[in-house]
Symmetry: C2
DNA sequence: CAGGATCCAATACGATACTG
DNA sequence: CAGTATCGTATTGGATCCTG
């Protein structure tokens, strides 16, 4: 994963940080408002040692940050940084793909992430650094099948 | 990953299939036009045994399919199924996030995936099963911080 | 409650050798 | 070339016990 061609590929570099089986589930829960160690552990059903490792890795990567606990306890909350919030599109795409191809027609699925009033937030669409919507500027596109 | 809450979550179910360190890199290469075993192996720098396992898993999952080789050799090509092509948005989102947060301002990055004439294809935007753009219907949204 | 330390099982992975 | 088989190592991940 750290060899020359992949080292300069944004996809590979991203997967190096969040391409394991737990990180994006933690991020998903964070988008859902989960903030406390025990809540992550209960929601994900993973061992505390692994959760500790993964949370630390996400802190190191700048995806999560620690804050003083909102409830005033002596512990801290894990919250998404702006970089972590930038994963919103990715999590939505993952969910969309799962819904489209991995569920039967009317199979029930969890609807964890909605506003309290049932109103969905408009998801962030991917944009380039100039702020233009990705659709107009994406460089990661399919080559013609000729090759 | 197979416990009750996560079993009905589309995000978790998707990650169960393509949430490892290699699958999405294989898919990325497939979008780039790579079709042959050796080409994947050279491009990714992974061992042949692992590549074999991952390709088989992606075949089983319905992400890839085998076709008679385009060059007439006795081997076969690995090509993206419609389900695999549905990962396009995901790969683009991954790339976009990597570019936005994991690269320095003018750091060079690989631009593997462009059309031969330099023109980008319009990426597929995530849609619901009725064909509406995801922005209007996403249920995977941030909860208010109150919780 | 929020972890760290330790131990152990299962798996991921690479290197090498083998096959048609 | 396109794999499969075998081996050894590294990493993953859970279980258990420990601490402030």
């Amino acid at each position: 994963m750290h060899d020359d061609p992949n080292a300069t590929c944004p996809v590979a570099r991203a997967l190096d940080l969040i391409g394991d089986r737990w990180s994006l589930l933690i991020v998903r829960d964070a988008f859902d408002g989960v903030r406390r160690f025990s809540d992550f552990q209960r929601s994900l059903g993973m061992s505390r040692s692994m959760l500790s490792q993964r949370l630390q890795a996400l802190l190191d990567a700048g995806v999560l940050a620690q804050q003083p606990a909102a409830d005033g306890s002596r512990y801290h909350d894990y919250v998404l940084t702006p970089q972590g919030q930038g994963l919103f599109t990715l999590v939505v795409a993952l969910r969309q793909w799962g819904e489209d191809f991995l569920f039967a027609e009317h199979e029930p699925r969890s609807q964890l992430l909605t506003l309290a009033d049932g109103q969905p937030l408009a998801p962030l669409l991917p944009r380039d650094r100039e702020g233009r919507v990705l659709a107009a500027t994406a460089t990661h596109v399919v080559k013609p099948a000729t090759r």
